[in-house]
Chain length 567, copies 2
């Protein structure tokens, strides 16, 4: 076995799974965001893939395989050629034609179904593939957790009714729960945004992990769970209060919320000295980049005690993206630090907390001046609401209205979407219905990050000495160590062969030049649960069987090892 | 099962395998040179892949998986970034860095071995992967036979001695023979050129097929076999004749060999009237494109009865390529139609038949003039020999010197190379030898076109009604047809379930809307050997078992079907 463990911590590794998979010889870096699966790693990857395949087959999924290198045309029709932005690897062939490395295959599956089906009798249909995917990540990181080339299982359901889609979605949801259970992955299903994929309902499967890139919320009272990007802010009920007239105040040198609040209290504006940042309305100017179209200026209004969360903002604007605007000299009408929503010349979207009837301390659109009692719906009317403000632990839950939100970090394992007819509309896919009239199929799309799942497992199953693979995905059932003296290595090889005839998959350490101590350390790093040591008591007919997880060790007669392990 | 057979011949299909795989619903075109594997096709592809994996494991191969998207740097070090030319898909990431879609992975495997091994104890080593490969073919054609995205098994051997490399090469050779035997592929192993891969000895496995792109020769007397590109021309033994002096003749209006021969005979040059094209020396000007360097003019001398074979020329010049030169106005020293090898200002390479002492009728480097008794080694000395002349059936065999060459067409199934140290030199890979001194591993590289093999099987195993899969790769063991009346479809589904419990993989045709005749035709097109028809005698407890290959049909009691088929 081509295996070399590393003593030192690899400099490139930032998170435990990455560090351990490198050190234990499962993977190696081959490109920015591209990893090689070494023999041990390939075994784990294949086992994970097999579990995914089995559960997809169990819900009637049929496996296909599409090319990854695709011509631009179909992604132009769906709009994703431009919507996907810089994340898409684009290239030209020798004739100068545009191609892409497909991030997912909604377009091609819709076209396949158009080609291969003609009647309601061909439905429902679930197709899937396990395929290498490409995404030009701006910041590939954490090894397999965020790569530019990765293995993904993507499946697509096709139904003729919305109820059929809902059922296919539920079947995938259940299949995914089974898959992650079999993989030993603790996970939470959370409400998610659909992003560039389009469609309506969507959920993510997140594995709780400190190193996860996603944050998600739970509720202390109910079962609400959502990706932070998808958290819905409860609209405060109006308290029916009436507010005095909008009043403009001189507020020199108060371009920040903190300086404004301090001044408001020191001057006792409107007779109050209890002003807090939450009473202020902060107006943030951003440039919105609409794919394939002109940029747009946008002002976002959020309560002054909260920041704009750019990930939440992007999720709300998708497929457009936003960047902070800072060229205020070009726009004298936008008075930096003193912007108010009254009489703005650009589009204005407000946080749901800026509900009709709420009154705010905000800019007066003149340098050094702010206004009080600026009432939403009276003094200004936003062009819409937007979920862009940061989510905080302790925020009220929108679902039950009673609990508070808790926040955790997680790794996105899977994403399921009820796409609806976005893609079948784009390609005008119609089949003959039972009533003789054409009917347009509705579509779901479901993805599992297969290579990422391997890292997530290592992230959830390790200790300071190494990985602790769940049995279902371990590279072998037994790790046999020839401790190194008096024919123990030969004996280990014999034992390995014997165990294999009992149907066990065996990794054997027969390296003569290494000490028993090094081999023990390596076996803990590699992380196969059952370790058999052919050592000093071998001459008397005994070997030691260790359990990597419990640390239990016991001597077993050589004649009974196979039985003990197979049991 | 997502399956739709096509009645009509698909317009895009040029060769039988392509036509049948499309018609029977195994594949669909998704991109220029890119094919989708439909459910039936994926089953066949997986079986072929599994056979390849098993035989690679049997010779100690360890499976790994590299990224396909790789940074330019390592391919610059080996020189292949430029040597591969337009066949390489190149792209830039969002930061503008150069990447490629790897055609093969010699560089990365050499680097992996450098990283993972340090001592002679780690050798010998065989690593392999089954991976999607990319090649920007100028003319993708014939479906899976020449695509731009295809599945390949590539393996790499690492040894410390030349003998070790020869053994690893032989083990691969034997393993490949076993693989193609199991796949039912008749094949010939032929001497091959190494091309851009570098290295010394190399052979190809060719499946005899009329539609093959490669032509290869055999000998009527001995076991010589070679790709036409690699055919060695026997050097004629000198007959010791002495020739008269070089004589220049006026030969107006004889720019072609035919016109020259006609004039030579009518004028009885040198007193002869038996001049043939074989007595003339044709000098062809080509532009040689050296990757990453300036172009070069080159004149190739071949007997006038033979054309220059551009494929053979390219193979001889690799990694450079050649195109015909036609800008003679820019080179007045090259007198079109009247070029001779005497006093040429550009490099001159001659066919091996232009051996020292042979005399030729050739151009005199003046318009309208030719020379006789132009003797190689006396009147001109080529800068070297080159294998560029066409090979013809009936040419003498260079190996035995007795037989004649026969020519056949074939599909390249596999290519094996003894690379030597080209790549380990490029990356300075050294490990500690047994004697304490550093030793540089030597490398072999071995590839099988896995997706192409599927097409080659269909090419060798079909008749006018459809495919005839060998059992080892068929998408199922049994094709059960519910003929369509009186509960026969339900019975077919029951029978299928029953057969599956007997370990048989079953494809069942339960399409209620189709006639029995359509189903029979489809089953012949799909090409699973054993077909069970649940038809009119089902009510009496009988089904019909057909053999797709022999055409044999017999009625079998329902109770005995499983036994009959499992036997």
């Amino acid at each position: 076995m081509l295996l070399r463990t590393l003593r030192e911590e690899p400099a490139e590794a930032e998170v435990p799974s990455h560090r351990l998979l490198l050190r234990a010889g499962y993977i190696r870096r081959a490109a920015p965001g591209g990893y090689t699966w070494l023999p041990l790693g390939k075994l784990v990857l294949d086992r994970v893939t097999q579990i995914v395949r089995e559960e997809m087959a169990a819900i009637g999924g049929q496996e296909v395989a599409f090319p990854a290198l695709l011509p631009r045309e179909v992604y132009d029709i769906s709009g994703r050629w431009s919507e996907y932005g810089d994340d898409l690897f684009k290239l030209k062939d020798r004739r100068g034609s545009d191609f892409l490395l497909a991030p997912t295959h909604e377009e091609l599956f819709a076209l396949l179904v158009q080609d291969m089906t003609s009647s309601y009798r061909d439905y429902p249909l679930v197709l899937f593939q396990v395929q290498t995917k490409y995404r030009d990540e701006a910041r590939p990181r954490a090894g397999l957790l965020r790569g530019r080339e990765f293995l993904m299982k993507d499946s697509y359901s096709f139904d003729l009714t919305d109820e059929g889609l809902a059922e296919a979605y539920d079947r995938h949801r259940v299949a995914y729960q089974k898959i992650f259970e079999r993989l030993g992955l603790e996970h939470t299903i959370v409400a998610a945004m659909s992003g560039a994929m389009g469609g309506s309902a969507s959920e993510e499967f997140l594995a709780a992990a400190e190193v996860g890139e996603d944050t998600f919320v739970g509720c202390t009272k109910c079962d609400y769970a959502a990706n932070t990007e998808a958290v819905v802010t409860p609209v405060p009920s109006s308290d029916g209060r009436t507010h005095g007239p909008l009043t403009v105040h001189d507020t020199p040198a108060t371009p920040t919320i903190a300086s404004l609040v301090e001044l408001a209290n020191s001057r006792a504006l409107e007779g109050r000295t209890d002003w807090t940042a939450a009473d202020t309305l902060k107006n943030v100017v951003v440039t919105v980049h609409h794919p394939g179209k002109d940029n747009e200026l946008l002002v976002i209004g959020v309560p002054g005690d909260r920041e704009v969360d750019l990930k939440r903002l992007d999720a709300s604007l998708a497929p457009a993206t936003a960047t902070m605007f800072d060229d205020f000299t070009a726009r004298p009408d936008l008075v930096r630090g003193y912007i108010g929503p009254q009489s703005l010349a650009v589009r204005y979207l407000a946080d749901p907390r800026v509900a009709p009837g709420t009154a705010w301390l905000t800019g007066a659109n003149e340098a050094g001046r702010h206004a009080t009692s600026v009432v939403a719906g009276r003094d200004f009317t936003p062009d819409g609401t937007i979920e862009a403000a940061e989510v905080r632990a302790g925020d009220p839950c929108a679902q039950c209205g009673e609990g508070e939100l808790t926040i955790r970090r997680g790794i996105e394992l899977a994403h399921i979407f009820q796409l609806g007819r976005k893609y079948t509309d784009a390609f005008k896919v119609d089949v003959l219905g039972a009533n003789g009239k054409p009917v347009r199929p509705t579509m779901g799309s479901y993805g599992i990050g297969v290579s990422r799942a391997v890292a997530a497992i290592a992230e959830q199953h390790h200790d300071e000495r190494g990985i602790l693979w769940p049995d279902a995905v371990a590279p072998a059932d037994v790790h046999v160590i020839g401790a190194g003296k008096d024919g123990q290595i030969e004996a280990a090889l014999h034992l390995a062969t014997d165990l294999e005839t009992h149907g066990l998959r065996v990794l054997v350490d027969d390296r003569p030049q290494l000490s028993a101590g090094v081999k023990f350390t390596d076996s803990e790093l590699i992380g196969i649960r059952r370790i058999v040591v052919v050592g000093r008591r071998f001459a008397e007919g005994w070997v030691e069987v260790r359990d990597r997880r419990t640390g239990e060790r016991r001597d077993v007669p050589l004649t009974e090892v196979a039985q003990t392990l197979a049991g």
